[in-house]
């Protein structure tokens, strides 16, 4: 066990993935000498060389597009997108090429590519640095989408993503990069499968569903709710595509009440998908409509307004009040 920040856990996980498989390469902007703008790749170029930790030209479509060619040649590229808002220039390569290559080739061409994206707000950044683009990718057949929320998962999930023969969009909650926890770096294998949700807090009154940066916020909300005598469960979804909802259905059947929480705008967001599935699966167990907490349907606001934009304890607990009022 070692106490590591989430960023350092990712670094350790990447290091181990590179040691395990010489075909693993990392490519992105400023990831070499600088170690990435969040220092997630710190020291990797020094140890693995410029051929395996590749400082690329400033061209996102190029990063993903050339990763495709490398994957066709038998490599396992990990692409770093510097910030969420800059993944859009690569969107075509991700959605039309990476995602579809296996299907287009009758299953012949695997795309073992990981696309790492620091996502979400809460760090006081300028525009285009605080986006939550997950729904675009979760909507795309052929991609798998995961989000880590804590250092332990960061360490293991990045390795599992690299080992996956499917392309993985790997979302990193940038406002949690510097949060620390004990991580089992010595263990031989991951404690949880990559595509599995986890009940991180059991409860009897209602369920909070979250992923990435909102998991911690939900845990804090659940803690605060105990003061009012409310016992809330919290699920860390971890995987957004495919969704793993059996543990969620189980909790819904017990509590009858659900609140989904994400930073992304509400319309067409993951919360809408979750609410629909829960309704289809657990209709007779529901005591109240599923309630969604999320960002507003506005572009991400200037930083000094982001506190009002982002779901916080009060917004979450307000939604809990509403589902409990039925």
């Amino acid at each position: 066990m070692t106490a590591l920040t989430l960023a350092k856990s990712l670094n350790a996980g990447l290091r181990r993935a590179m040691e395990d498989d010489p075909k693993v390469i990392i490519m992105g902007e400023d990831i070499g000498r600088l170690g990435g703008v969040f220092r997630v790749t710190d020291g990797l170029q020094k140890d693995f060389g410029e051929d395996r930790v590749i400082d690329t030209p400033l061209a996102e479509s190029g990063i993903v597009g050339t990763a495709i060619g490398l994957a066709l040649r038998g490599y396992r590229p990990i692409c770093e997108i510097q910030f969420d808002g800059f993944v859009y220039p690569a969107y075509d390569q991700i959605v039309s090429q990476v995602a579809k290559m296996r299907a287009r080739s009758q299953g012949r061409l695997p795309m073992p590519i990981v696309i790492r994206i620091p996502f979400g707000g809460g760090i006081g950044a300028v525009e285009h640095h605080s986006e939550s683009p997950e729904a675009y990718f979760a909507h795309t057949a052929g991609l798998k989408v995961v989000a880590c929320s804590n250092p332990g998962d960061a360490y293991w999930m990045i390795q599992q993503s690299v080992a996956s023969d499917d392309p993985v969009i790997f979302l990193e909650p940038k406002r949690r990069y510097y949060e620390r926890a004990e991580v089992e770096t010595e263990a031989g294998e991951a404690p949880y499968p990559l595509f599995a949700s986890r009940v991180v807090r059991d409860g009897t009154d209602a369920v909070l569903l979250a992923y990435g940066p909102m998991v911690k916020t939900c845990l804090e909300a659940a803690q605060a709710a105990t003061e009012e005598g409310r016992n809330l469960a919290v699920v860390d979804l971890r995987t957004l595509s495919p969704l793993d909802l059996d543990p969620v259905y189980e909790l819904v059947r017990r509590t009858g009440r659900v609140v989904t929480v994400h930073e992304a705008p509400i319309t067409g967001g993951l919360g809408a998908e979750l609410a629909t599935r829960i309704t289809e699966e657990c209709f007779y167990s529901l005591q109240a409509p599923v309630r969604r907490v999320g960002g507003f349907d506005t572009p991400y606001p200037p930083a000094r307004a982001e506190e009002d934009f982002l779901p916080d304890l009060d917004r979450i607990l307000d939604a809990v009040d509403r589902v409990l009022a039925y």
Binding site: S61, G65, L72, R102
Partner: protein, 387 residues
């Protein structure tokens, strides 16, 4: 019609030509055709046969058997010349029009046609023939080409001096594609990493209805200079010149000399695809002008003038083309319908529970309409195109 699309470079010093439209061999200071006349006969055969595949596919589309077809009519020399310059270990990234290049790779035309019929997305195995799937999104494949070339470098397949080992990538795209960001990013990437990437730009003068002038204010081969690698313009209707120039560029790439942009100056004699109507955007004069430069006619003139072919050769070739057309027609008509249920299995290496549930649902639902089961009934094996 816009000015400048026809006639512009003929006789220009920057156009590499080794065989004139009249079928006379000519010299170029930097490039020579180094194969014998037997090879020229072979090129002629390739061009006749690919033109025939094209004609048959257009006919099939007109008869409602193909959804669409992108004709290569007029671009045979560019494709056969470049395609024959490739070695087995080289890798090709085509657009959707490279039927002649596919022919050089030994791909059954039916494997191409299955895409346009809507049976699959291309019925060949790219890894087996070193020819990637057709890419429909304009320009996207040029980045794949650069990445693949980076892989070759990493694998120690560049600049070793071993002709069996050294390899390069040949990436095709059009004049319209030259305006795409991806193509320009690919140029930057290939230059920065000095990858063994040869770009083969078929400038057929039109991107659907948009003339070349809408894509670039300078001759396209000159773009390369701005990215830091050589660009060369070749007479795209001259199969000997296309061969010689591509061969030289590929060799330079294999030797570690980095990328080259080849602009094959040619002309699309048909419609962009069977769905468009060129009479809306271009005049008959232009077509007539280019017909005089027909890529097949000049090789035939050369071969005839030098008594390298005779009536028997041409009659045999005719028969061969007829047989090929019959193969294309019969093969197209007998392609099994695709099985939607099977497509679920090819989305991921590791199936998702949701997808499995959807697949099962579809199978049951489908079976409820076809209780006896049958060729098109969900459980059928996937339609493999014969190679």
């Amino acid at each position: 019609m816009t000015e400048g699309t026809f006639g512009a470079p003929a006789g220009e010093p920057d156009l590499v030509q080794l065989l004139t439209p009249e079928g006379e061999r000519c010299e170029h200071p930097d490039y020579a055709f180094d194969l014998d006349d037997e090879a020229v006969r072979g090129f002629y055969r390739d061009m006749v046969l690919t033109r025939r595949i094209d004609a048959e596919a257009i006919a099939l589309q007109r008869q409602g058997e193909l959804g669409i077809w992108a004709s290569l009519l007029g671009q045979e020399a560019a494709q056969i010349g470049s395609g024959r310059a490739v070695r087995q270990q080289d890798f090709i990234f085509p657009t959707y029009r490279e039927h002649g290049v596919a022919w050089c790779r030994g791909i059954d035309p039916l494997a191409l046609i299955s895409l346009f019929r809507g049976v699959d997305n291309g019925g060949w195995d790219p890894a087996e023939v070193n020819f990637h799937l057709y890419t429909i999104v304009i320009g996207a494949q040029t980045l794949h080409a650069t990445g693949y070339a980076m892989g070759m470098q990493r694998d120690g397949c560049v600049g070793t001096g071993d002709p069996e080992r050294d390899a390069a990538v040949l990436a095709y795209f059009g004049d319209g594609a030259s305006a795409q960001g991806d193509v320009n990013e690919s140029f930057i990437w290939s230059a920065v990493f000095n990858t063994p990437t040869v770009y083969f730009l078929q400038n057929n003068q039109w991107a659907i209805s948009a003339p070349q002038e809408k894509q670039s204010r300078i001759p396209l081969y000159r773009r390369a200079a701005g990215f830091g690698f050589p660009g060369v313009r070749v007479d795209g209707n001259d199969v000997l010149a296309c061969y010689a120039v591509t061969k030289a560029a590929l060799q330079q790439a294999r030797d570690g000399g980095g990328p080259t942009l080849i602009e094959a100056f040619t002309y699309r004699m048909g419609a962009h695809t069977t769905t468009d109507d060129p009479t809306r955007y271009r005049l008959q004069d232009e077509l007539e002008h280019w017909k005089l430069k027909d890529p097949l006619a000049r090789v035939k003139a050369y071969l005839t003038r030098n008594a390298l072919i005779d009536d028997a050769f041409l009659a045999d070739l005719d028969t061969e083309a007829d047989d090929l057309a019959a193969h294309v027609r019969a093969g197209t008509l007998s392609m099994p319908e695709p099985d939607l249920a099977a497509t679920f299995d090819r989305v991921y290496a590791e199936m998702t529970p949701e997808l499995r549930a959807q697949q099962e649902w579809f199978r049951e639902y489908h079976a409820s309409f076809h209780p006896s089961g049958g060729a098109a009934d969900g459980g059928a094996p996937h339609a493999e195109v014969t190679r």
